[in-house]
Symmetry: none
Amino acid sequence: MRHLDLLSRLAQANTTKIVLLVLDGVGDLATPAQPLTALQKARTPHLDALAARSSLGRIVPVATGITPGSGPGHLALFGYDPREPQFDIGRGILEALGLGLDLHPGDVAARGNFATANAQGELTDRRAGRIPTAECVRVCEKLNCALEAITDANVRVVPGEAHRFVLLLSGEGLAAAIDDTDPQQLGVAPLAARETAPAGAQAAALVRRAVALMEGAIGDEPKANRVLLRGFSRLPDLPQLPELYKLRCGAFAGYPLYRGVASACGMEVVPCGKRLGEILDRVEERWPDFDLFFLHVKQTDQAGEDGNIDAKAAAIEEVDALLPRLLALGPDVVAVTGDHSTPAPMAAHSFHPVPLLMASAVAFVDETTAFDEHQAIRGHLGTFPSRELMGLLLAHAGRLEKFGA
Amino acid sequence: MRHLDLLSRLAQANTTKIVLLVLDGVGDLATPAQPLTALQKARTPHLDALAARSSLGRIVPVATGITPGSGPGHLALFGYDPREPQFDIGRGILEALGLGLDLHPGDVAARGNFATANAQGELTDRRAGRIPTAECVRVCEKLNCALEAITDANVRVVPGEAHRFVLLLSGEGLAAAIDDTDPQQLGVAPLAARETAPAGAQAAALVRRAVALMEGAIGDEPKANRVLLRGFSRLPDLPQLPELYKLRCGAFAGYPLYRGVASACGMEVVPCGKRLGEILDRVEERWPDFDLFFLHVKQTDQAGEDGNIDAKAAAIEEVDALLPRLLALGPDVVAVTGDHSTPAPMAAHSFHPVPLLMASAVAFVDETTAFDEHQAIRGHLGTFPSRELMGLLLAHAGRLEKFGA
C-alpha cells in the first residue's frame, strides 16, 4: 500500500490545527568560504526558543541527490510522491500556474517561446532576441486576435516575461499527448504539432490550426515571427487533500505558482500579500475556517537564487520576528521547513536535505537548541522523505487512527 | 525482492543464539512537563553498561507517523511488513489470540459483544450495560448449549471481559468474508450476517443460523439478549519463522496475545509467568532448545497506558536487575527494544521511534553510554523500519550469507 493511501485510511477528524510554514529554499550550505548557513547567520531568538521545545529533523524532497523544482518540492510536502507519473505536473501547467491562470480540469497548457525565422522559414533565433516583456504583451495581443477565428474551442495565449508566453486550449476531449514543436536547433523550421498517442490527435490538429493562424498574424514581425511550443500538459489528477486527510486546507501564498499547486491539490487559496506579515493578516482573519494552514514565504528562495546570503538571513529574521504572531493563534502543531534547499553558494535549488522543526504537545523535546542545518542532523525526527511529512503532521495533531489492534 | 525474501534466501544455519528482549511500549516522550523519559528516569546500571559496549539505534514500527497496535508492532519485529494485506491480523483473530485460544488454519473468529434490545427488537444498549464478567461467562454457557444444535460445523463462544466474547467457527471451506452485524447505532435491530464476497456465503449462512440459535437462547435475558459480531477473520498465512530464517524460535511471553502472535509466526510457545523473573526461569530451562528467544515484558506498556511514568521506570528497573541472569546464559546477540512507544504523557501507543540496543561481538561500539531515547538518536544503527530488525539480528549472529560474490 502506498504511504498516501495508508494515511488516507487512517486519517480521522479532530479539532486540532496544523500550521505548515514553508520557507522556500531555506536549507543552505556550510562551506570553507561560507562557514555559516543562512539559518545560522540570522539572529532568530523566537525560532531558537521554539526549537528548544520541539523536535528537529530533516526532509529529503524527492530522493537522495535529487534537486527538485518548486512543483515536485511542494507536492512532496503535501504527501504526494513526485516520482509517480500521475503526480507529475507538466511544464506547461506549471508555467500557467506561475502566471496565476485559473485552470480547469481538461485544459491543455504549453510553454510558448517567440522565435525568429528568416525568409526561408528557417529559425535564426530560438528566443526572438529575448524581446522585452512589453513587446511580448503587444505580440500576444495580435495572436489572440487571430485566434478568435477558432470557434469550436477556446484557444488563447497569455504573455509571460521577455519572449515567453503560455498557450491555453480549452474544449471537449483535448488530450495533452502532443510533442514539442521546438526543434531545439537553428536552420530548420519549427516542427508541426504531432500527437504522441492516438488520443492526442484532436488536440494536435487544433494546435496546428492555431499555429497557422498565429504565424499568419506575426509573419511580418522583425523578431517575434514564429512560435515554439513545449511541455503540453493538463492538470494532474491529484487526490484532493481535504478528502485524503479529512482536513480543511487553506493556502496562504503570495506568489502564483504556489497558489496554483495548492489549488491543484484541493486547498482553498486565500488571496494575500507577498510578505509574511501580510500573509499573517489573512491567516488571523481565516483562523476558524481551516485545519491545515499552508504558509509560503518566497524571499528565502529568492535570496538564495541571487547567491545573497545576507538577504537570505534577513528574510529568515523577518520570519523570526513574526513568529510570535503566528504562535499567538495557538496552533496545535507548527512545522517550519522548506520545499528544498537553495544554498547561496550555488545560487540555485539543490539536493541537500532541508531542516525541519516540529512543535506540538506530543513532539519529543530533543537536545537541539536552535533551528539550523547542523542541529537538525541530531534531531529526534531523523532524516526522511518529504512525502512522509504530512503523516507526521497528522500524527502530531492526533489525526491518525491506530494501525491494527 | 521483498526484504523478507532476501533474508530468507541468505539465511544460513549457525550455532549462535539470539535474544530479542521486547519491553512492550518502552519508548517514551520528553516534554516540558516530563523532561525525563522512563528509560532516563529508571536507574539501569546493567542496561547502561551493556549500552556502553553495544550499538544503539531506533526502529520505526510501521512507517513515519503511524501508531501500531500490538499485532502489527510484533509482526514487524519478526520481519513482516505489517502493511502487506497478507500479513494483516484481523480483529477477531487478535481477540481470540488474546484469550489464549488454540486456533487452527481455516478457523474463523469474530469479536462478540452482548447488547440489549427492547421488545420491538431495537437496540437500546450496544454493550448490554457492560455486564460483569461472571454474567458474561454464565450467558456464554447458554449460548454454547444452544450452538450444539449445529452439527455440520463446530461453532462456539468463549467469554472475555465484561460484555465481550469471541465467536469461533471451525469447519470445511469457511471464508472470513463476512460483514459486521453491529449496526453501530441504537434504535435498530442488529444486522444479519452478510458475505462481503461470494466466498463468504457459506460462512455467512452458518453465522445467521448461529445468531438465530443464540438469540433464541438469551431472548429473555434482561440485558444480554442480543449479540453483535465484528471483525470476522482467519489466521493470516504467515511464512513460518523457522523455515524463513533457519532458526528454532522460542516465544516466552506471559500474556496470551503475544503468545498467539508468536505462534501464528511459527514459534514454539513456552508457557511461563508474567514477569521477567518467571520468564527467565523458563528460558534457562530451554536454553539448549532454541536459536532465537523472544522474551516479552508487558509491564512497561501497562504503566505507559496508565500514564504512570514511575511505574514504567520501575518496570524497566526490574528488567535491569534481571539482565545479568540473561547475560549469564551467554547469548551471542542480545537486542533490547519495544514493539512501539507508549509514552506516559499520552497514556496510549504512539508513533514515536523506539530505542534499540544491539549487543554482539560484531556490534559497533558507538559513543552511546546509556540506553535511552536521546542517546539512541546518535547511535551507530541509525533509525530504520522495525521489519528490518530481524535481518540485523541474523547479521550480528553470523546467520546471513554474503549477497553475491
